[in-house]
């Protein structure tokens, strides 16, 4: 409020970029401190993410996960709800998809079984988001704490089931039996082959397309439907929503269910697309990364696609670090992720005064 506002492109374009650069700068310093060359590391990551044969496929495969979990965080955030339970909701989504497919893959046609699996992933995820939403709306329990607790509860349920009644016979690792053959989402390289294109085998599968469709769906939902209008109104001012005749408790529960469903859909990529069975820890922290993605993408689907691509590249490029360096590994990416959340989330306005000063000086 100190002066007239700066142009929008500074707020939604330049500042996030400056924050991102700050995160990378700190990461570079740490790499230098441990005795490696940050530029070289970056080169390896870029090559690993985009240049090598099949690299892009892997990058987009990771991107798919982040689009789903990022959208999940964003939808909840439009209702001013901080859903950090994406991890648990994704696990439940995987469980739902897995249970459904395991139940019917022997009797139903593959396509139908997969469709049911998709539906179940959304449904289970929605339920795991709805319950904290219900607790917030009806019992006043703080959603941040309940979603944290629900992540742990989901993880325990998974261990209990996968090491117990769902564990495949004659096997030592906690996972279910594999789905019947062809009961999975088709890989992109398979589809391309069907059209006569030759593509490298990668885990990239149809769920990437579904993720992009979900982006459009979320955009329409938030900015072009009455429900989205009400969700945003509730997020900005609960009293305005009540005044306008809406029940914020309902909106909170609906928003959390949609959020949970989107997080649950992440299982499409991992369970129905790649693993073709339910395994432990398939979420691998992607649910938390979704928070970074939503923050960087400013809760807008377009921003989320770009942020997901960045994180996809970091994850895929980070895996390459393991091969090229003695001392830096993919955990480096986790560190960078933490720094990005710090700079583009908690310290989002750190550079704002400086950037504004520069802008006004240039304008004069």
């Amino acid at each position: 409020m100190s002066r007239q506002p700066v142009p929008r492109w500074i707020d939604i374009g330049l500042l996030p970029l400056v924050n991102l650069l700050a995160a990378f700068a700190v990461a570079a310093i740490i790499i230098a401190v441990i005795g490696e060359n940050p530029l070289q590391a970056m080169g390896v990551m870029i090559k690993g993410a985009f240049v090598y044969k099949g690299a892009l496929g892997y990058t987009l495969y990771y991107t798919t996960n982040f689009i789903f979990t990022g959208l999940a965080v964003a939808v909840a955030f439009h209702a001013r709800l901080f859903n950090i339970g994406g991890e648990g909701q994704a696990m439940m989504g995987g469980l739902g998809a897995g249970l459904t497919v395991l139940a019917c893959d022997q009797i139903l046609p593959a396509g139908l079984a997969v469709m049911l699996g998709i539906f179940a992933a959304a449904l289970f995820g929605a339920f795991w988001g709805f319950v904290p939403g219900w607790l917030q709306a009806r019992r006043g329990s703080h959603i941040v704490i309940t979603t944290i607790m629900f992540n742990f509860i989901a993880a325990s349920v998974m261990v209990w089931l996968l090491a117990g009644m769902l564990m495949a016979p004659n096997q030592m690792s906690p996972e279910t039996r594999s789905f019947a053959e062809h009961v999975s989402l088709p890989k992109i390289h398979e589809l391309a082959a069907g059209f006569g294109f030759e593509m490298v085998r990668t885990p990239l599968n149809l769920s990437f397309v579904i993720a992009l469709a979900a982006c459009i769906g979320v955009w329409v939902l938030i900015w072009r439907t009455r429900l989205g209008y009400i969700i945003r109104a509730t997020g900005h001012s609960e009293r305005a929503a009540v005044y306008a005749g809406h029940n914020p408790a309902h909106i909170i529960m609906i928003a959390m269910a949609i959020s949970g469903a989107l997080a649950g859909l992440m299982a499409l990529n991992e369970i129905l697309g790649v693993q073709e069975r339910v395994i432990l820890n398939f979420t691998a922290g992607y649910g938390f990364t979704g928070i970074a993605v939503a923050l960087m993408g400013r809760n807008h689907p377009i921003g989320i696609v770009f942020a997901s691509l960045l994180f996809g590249a970091l994850y895929q490029g980070g895996a390459e670090l393991d091969f090229e360096f003695q001392t830096i590994t993919r955990e480096m990416v986790l560190m960078i992720q933490g720094l990005i959340i710090l700079f583009s989330g908690a310290l989002a306005y750190l550079f704002k005064p400086a950037v504004e000063r520069v802008w006004f000086r240039l304008k004069q």
């Binding site: 441990i34 329990s141 629900f150 938390f288 830096i328 710090l342 908690a346 310290l347 306005y349």
Partner: protein, 324 residues
């Protein structure tokens, strides 16, 4: 009879060991949250501290230097949290989350760079750790029925940091309810304007609170790697920071009830460890996973108001910005 008593005592003893980092972290969270700053970064600070302690103890051969390094590392992360939440009025949950993720990545990255053991620090010798303190007459006392074993198993044989953790509970109570700083701390978490208009710096108080939180988390981390364990292992905090947060909520943001919650959660953990693989009548294999999840479930049930009510400090989570 004596055997059951001994089994019970061993479980209680294990409870204390498991609960120690929970108690320290809960007290850390208590200071931070009483001042109005949400602290979900207990986990990350403790992990960072555990790494610093393990690493420095291994390099220097001194558990005490390890402890000092742990406190230093943890306080450094507290200051990052303070910078984001207090100075720059950032979102406290996001900041905490960032610290947790950062700690996860940083400990492994630094660990591999320094020790090349896949993220672990070297195994510590007995002299490089805080070892158990056997109290006088512990062995002789066993001749006394009931109390003797209790003295030997539960009272004696703990390392210094266990006692320190219990002491911090009293200390926290004293500081918060019996000192000037404590009065201001409680006020700043309830109504920061009241403190500001009294001519006391809100930011100053909150910084002091998060620094204290850093110190306690530091001790907790050191306990994990140089007292309870013998070196740092990646992700060795394994959600203990979150359990401590749950215990703090369970204790309704008060020191002694929070201690009780920590002991209860610790007991569940110890019990699960003891019952691992044990066949129970009617139930079959003990569902230890389900015992371990109880702290989280109970906290949700409490938060939902089905058993009592948890009332957080009124101003928690809102950055203090003077109105224009």
């Amino acid at each position: 009879m004596a055997d059951i008593w001994l089994q019970f005592l061993l479980t209680v003893d294990a409870t204390l060991r498991v609960a120690t980092p929970l108690i320290l972290c809960a007290m850390a969270g208590l200071f931070s949250e009483k001042s109005g700053i949400i602290d979900i970064s207990l986990e990350g600070k403790m992990l960072m501290a555990a790494f610093a302690a393990g690493g420095i103890a291994a390099v220097s051969g001194s558990a005490w230097l390890g402890l000092a390094a742990a406190v230093l590392a943890s306080v450094l992360f507290s200051l990052i949290h303070g910078l984001a939440c207090i100075t720059h009025k950032g979102n406290q949950v996001i900041s905490g989350l960032a610290i947790n993720i950062l700690a996860s990545g940083l400990t492994v990255t630094l660990g591999i760079a320094a020790f090349a053991k896949g993220g672990q620090t070297p195994l510590l010798a007995k002299s490089e750790r805080f070892s158990a303190i056997t109290l006088p007459f512990a062995d002789v006392a066993t001749v006394i029925p009931l109390f003797g074993p209790f003295y030997k198993e539960v009272i004696s044989g703990h390392n210094l940091l266990v006692w320190l953790a219990l002491f911090t509970v009293w200390l926290s109570w004293f500081v918060i309810f019996r000192t000037r700083f404590g009065l201001r701390l409680r006020a700043v978490g309830e109504k920061p304007e009241a403190v500001d208009t009294a001519g006391v710096s809100v930011d100053g108080l909150r910084y002091r609170a998060v620094i204290i939180a850093g110190i306690f988390c530091g001790i907790a981390g050191a306990y994990l790697s140089v007292a309870h364990g013998a070196g740092f292992v990646r992700e060795m905090t394994a959600g203990k920071g979150y359990i401590a947060l749950a215990a703090l909520i369970f204790g309704n943001w008060r020191p002694v009830p929070a201690l009780m919650a920590c002991l209860m959660f610790g007991f569940l953990d110890a019990l699960a460890a003891r019952l691992q693989g044990v066949e129970l009548p009617y139930l079959g294999q003990t569902p230890t996973d389900l015992i371990l999840v109880l702290p989280y479930v109970l906290t949700v049930v409490l938060l939902a108001g089905f058993i009592g009510r948890a009332t957080p400090p009124a101003a928690i989570g809102t950055p203090y910005i003077k109105e224009r």
